[in-house]
Every structure is written in structure tokens, then in C-alpha cells.
Symmetry: C2
Subunit: 178 residues, 2 copies
């Protein structure tokens, strides 16, 4: 990605897998909307571990938080598959947000939805057995036909790979009250 001032305010970009669109703690220049492909969005803490916030796909927006709050990236976003995105210059995004009420409304709804999801996930992660979350996750992934490594899966579930393997075995999950 170049610093080139000639970058258009809005453009379509194609990225290969494993490319970073947003870097945690670094300034962002654009907001992206995913047209195709899957990205993972994760936070790395000082202790080296990483927590996967979410996997985002078609129709999802990236970098709005940073644009709206005028902060550096709060997470790193990396493509898992080749992706196609609409890149919107940050300043222009904000402009759009103010002047186009339909766009504003759409962003508002996307954020509200994501907020609800994040909160619900945090809760589920604490309140339910991993087996539950795991089953759900696997279903979603399966639908998407995307392949993740065990490391990503366990990262998303917030557990070690070892634990994930145990769960996958399904030996004795049904212990909990559920």
C-alpha cells in the first residue's frame, strides 16, 4: 500500500490472502467495505497473545471506528482469503457520513449490529460451555466454505489449541448443566 497522495477518494482494491488492511495502534487512512472474501480482526495484547474479535465477510465495514473516533487502529485486520474491498478515503467517509443520511443510517445500523454481536459473544463465551460456541462457530465457517487453522479457531474461542482439540474430540462435553 502506497502513501501516494494520488490515491482516489474511493476505489476498488484486490488483496491477496494474509495482507493487513489495518494495523493495531497505527494510523488508518481509509475505511473499507468488503465486497468479497473473509478477513480476521484481532487484538494483540502486550503479553504476545492474540484475541480474534471477529471474522468479517461480504458487506461488512472496516475502519469506521477509527475514522469516527479519530484514533489509531484498535485491532489488526488481515485477509484470510483473497479479498476485494471498496476503499474509501477516511476524510471522505466522514463527509459522506455527515451529508448522506442513507449512508449515515446504514453505518449506524452496522455499528449497532456489531455492538450487539460483540456483547452477546462476550456473554456467551462466559456463560456457555465452549462446546456450544464451538458448534455455532463451526456451522458458520462451514457455511462460508472457508478453511481456518486450528490456531485461528482456538484464538477466536479464546482457548488454547490443546483445549480445542479436546473439545473436538467431544469426549465428555455434556457434563455441564448446559
Amino acid at each position: 500500500m502506497s502513501d501516494d497522495a494520488s490515491m482516489a477518494a474511493i476505489a476498488i482494491q484486490e488483496l491477496p490472502a494474509r495482507k493487513r488492511l489495518i494495523q493495531q495502534d497505527k494510523n488508518t487512512r481509509s475505511v473499507y467495505i468488503i465486497r468479497k472474501g473473509v478477513v480476521k480482526c484481532f487484538i494483540a495484547e502486550e503479553n504476545g497473545k492474540e484475541y480474534i474479535l471477529e471474522f468479517l465477510g461480504e458487506g461488512e465495514i472496516l475502519g469506521e471506528l477509527e475514522a469516527i473516533r479519530k484514533t489509531t487502529g484498535m485491532a489488526t485486520v488481515e485477509s484470510l482469503t483473497p479479498v476485494s474491498v471498496v476503499r474509501i478515503d477516511k476524510a471522505w467517509f466522514l463527509q459522506l457520513l455527515m451529508e448522506n443520511s442513507a449512508f449515515n443510517r446504514a453505518v449506524l445500523e452496522l455499528m449497532a449490529g456489531r455492538l450487539a454481536n460483540t456483547a452477546i459473544r462476550a456473554s456467551r463465551q462466559q456463560l456457555y460451555t465452549l462446546s456450544y460456541s464451538l458448534a455455532q462457530l463451526l456451522a458458520v465457517l462451514d457455511a462460508g466454505g472457508v478453511i481456518f487453522t486450528k490456531k485461528d479457531l482456538s484464538g477466536y474461542l479464546g482457548i488454547s489449541v490443546r483445549s480445542l482439540n479436546r473439545l473436538l474430540k467431544g469426549s465428555k462435553n455434556a457434563t455441564f448443566t448446559k
Copy 2:
């Protein structure tokens, strides 16, 4: 709280402690902005356990998610202390959101901020030792001068009261890599 159709579109309300402003899975009628006091916002899952999403205080907004997404309450909000809130009729809130760009901007920022917080907390909760989160939480609470029950604390940390007690003892925390 009455069903009275004569409720003003916007009004100041005073509530005692332990009152519910929003009920999970029920329709909401208003959006609230806290003027004073502290509320807790929690999700109760089918298995009876509750997970505290956050404690909100002065200046925070409640019920916007439900208003924007037109869904039932995604969490229950209950006053921990006596609170004073500005109650805004849901329909009017949406109206304001569309017509008043400053208000729109403010809501957008509040949501962005909350999204960031929620995500960061979820991450911290997975990546750090409880002792870490606990210490941080205690510091915040202390600063606010509010008293929470152990149950609330543990609910917020996503652990059982028993575990919280053990942590408070501080017997052998320093085991982890940190």
C-alpha cells in the same frame, strides 16, 4: 413505569436503586441518557447465569441499540444507585437522529466508543489473568466511590463468586506469564 400515552416525548426521571429501565427481550419504549447515578447492564442466558456487560454512568446512553435496530432489549439495565435520567421517546430519538446532525454525531461517537470498549474488554478477559482485570476494575470502582456486591463484581469478570474470593485472597496469583 406507566403505559400512559400522555408521557412526554422527553422528560427527566428519577429512579430509586434496583429499578429496571430496560428488560431483556422486551420491547423498549424509550432511550435514556444518564444524568446521575450508575446502572448495570447485563445479559441473562437461558441457563440462569448472568453476564454483566458493563456499568454505565453519567453521560451514557441506554436503549439506542434497540431503537436503531428495532429489536427488543438485548440486555437488562438496572439501577445500582438512585439515578436521574433523561427519558426520550423512542420515535423521537430516531427523529432527532435523522434531523439533528450534532446529535447524530454524538450518538455515533458514543456507540463507537462503546464498541471499542466492549471489544477491548472481551479481549482482555481472555488474554489476561483475572488478577489483572480485577485490579483494574477495583481501581475504577474505587475512583467512582460506588459499592458493588461481590456478585456484581464476579458477574462482570465472568467468574463465579467463589473464584472472586480466591482472587481477592491473592494467595497465589503471580503464577502466569502475566
